[in-house]
Symmetry: C2
Subunit: 228 residues, 2 copies
DNA sequence: CCTACCGATCGGTAGG
DNA sequence: CCTACCGATCGGTAGG
């Protein structure tokens, strides 16, 4: 314990240029701080909205000082765009994985079931701040950044198109597939406004349901040939 | 043209105490200025979001100076609450009128058709800034104000409950009526994010449909016994 | 990534 | 409802 004092540096040649204790090695540099900023920002943006969230608040949430987020991101808006891009990339990965696990001869209804269930997971499951932020803070990013996010969103939605068209062709989905897709996404996305996980305690007990139950109810609502 | 110079007032006894031209009689006092503020605020809140809208911007939109909105409203938040209350009162009136025009023996499906069509009108028709603001700026008002708005919202939604339960009982609606109501409102409310009226010019041509078409597609999507 | 700071903006108020 | 203004906050930066 006291041995270390032997090789202490003279006071006029300090090892550390500035007064703060240095972070341990695995907290330093990396992209970890950047990722922490994105995750913290996602949570605050979702809770308070983009405009009502301060960059100071984000910094504090990840243990930084007020100016430090700007070392990692050009602007508050760039941080929002990163949240959206990260969210869409993750959602797309999970969707591709879920579809890939399906047998090649899976029916259109089975495919829709997987798409809907995965979408609820993306919206309401663990680490689900990103997509709600994307959905509800659309106005706050520039047209350029919107374009990037849109490309991913189009790819995400493209997987739904053949499924809905097949269901329409076989009579399981009566509405025009384009309008049906818009309304189905509405029905699902809106859940971010009212859903509370079964573990939470709240007055709105009726709104508590597992994600499996939600997906089941959605399919019953949209498809003709599913009974009660 | 030049005759009017005869009865001009001497410069040292000005008729007007302050330098600005006085408003004409029917623009003065009344609750008209208050209503103008609510309508202007609704439009800006919808376009830019509550937090990103400045009270100065609202004042300018209705031809006032920066401090004047605070003569009519205690705070920016109170103005938002007024927008929401005004919107819900109007929506409720229109819904009651639409239901009242129905024959007493109207079927559950006819009732749902009227409710859905009216809801699209409230969301997307003329003067439709209020309800989208209410839907998307929920977080920004205090719990107290939320309570007032919630009472109207509950009354609005209460009209849907027996209709959906009847449809469920007769097998037209397979899903649990409570979850069905939440998802149906989601499908409809989401249209505020993508719908553009048929008159507008834009790349998203597919999204253009009349409100009648939207209501028709919605019923086809939700009800079992409606064919293509 | 911290320190110290700036310039602009914003909600709100006094006083008429 | 205007004029003039304040106090606080906020995004962002320089310089290390």
């Amino acid at each position: 314990m006291s041995v270390q004092a032997v090789d202490s540096t003279p006071a006029n040649t300090p090892r550390r240029a500035r007064g703060r204790p240095r972070k341990t090695l695995d907290e330093r540099d990396d992209g970890n701080r950047r990722r922490a900023l994105i995750a913290g920002a996602a949570r605050l943006f979702r809770q308070q909205g983009f405009a009502a969230t301060t960059t100071r608040g984000i910094a504090a949430a990840v243990g930084m000082h007020s100016g430090s987020p700007f070392y990692h991101f050009e602007s508050k808006e760039a941080l929002l765009a990163a949240v959206m891009l990260e969210g869409m990339q993750g959602a797309l990965q999970r969707q591709n994985r879920a579809l890939g696990a399906l047998p090649a001869d899976a029916s259109a209804r089975e495919r829709l079931q997987v798409l809907v269930r995965n979408h609820f997971d993306v919206l309401l499951g663990p680490d689900s701040d990103f997509i709600p932020v994307m959905l509800y803070e659309w106005r706050a990013i520039s047209a350029l950044q919107r374009g990037e996010v849109n490309r991913l969103k189009d790819e995400y939605e493209a997987a739904w198109v053949p499924v809905l068209e097949a269901l329409h062709a076989q009579g399981s989905l009566a509405a025009d597939p384009v309008l049906a897709r818009l309304m189905i996404f509405g029905a699902l996305n809106w859940s971010a406004q009212w859903y509370m996980p079964p573990s939470g305690r709240s007055a709105k007990a009726r709104a508590r349901a597992s994600l499996d139950e939600l997906a089941g109810a959605a399919l019953k609502l949209f498809l003709k040939d599913i009974g009660p």
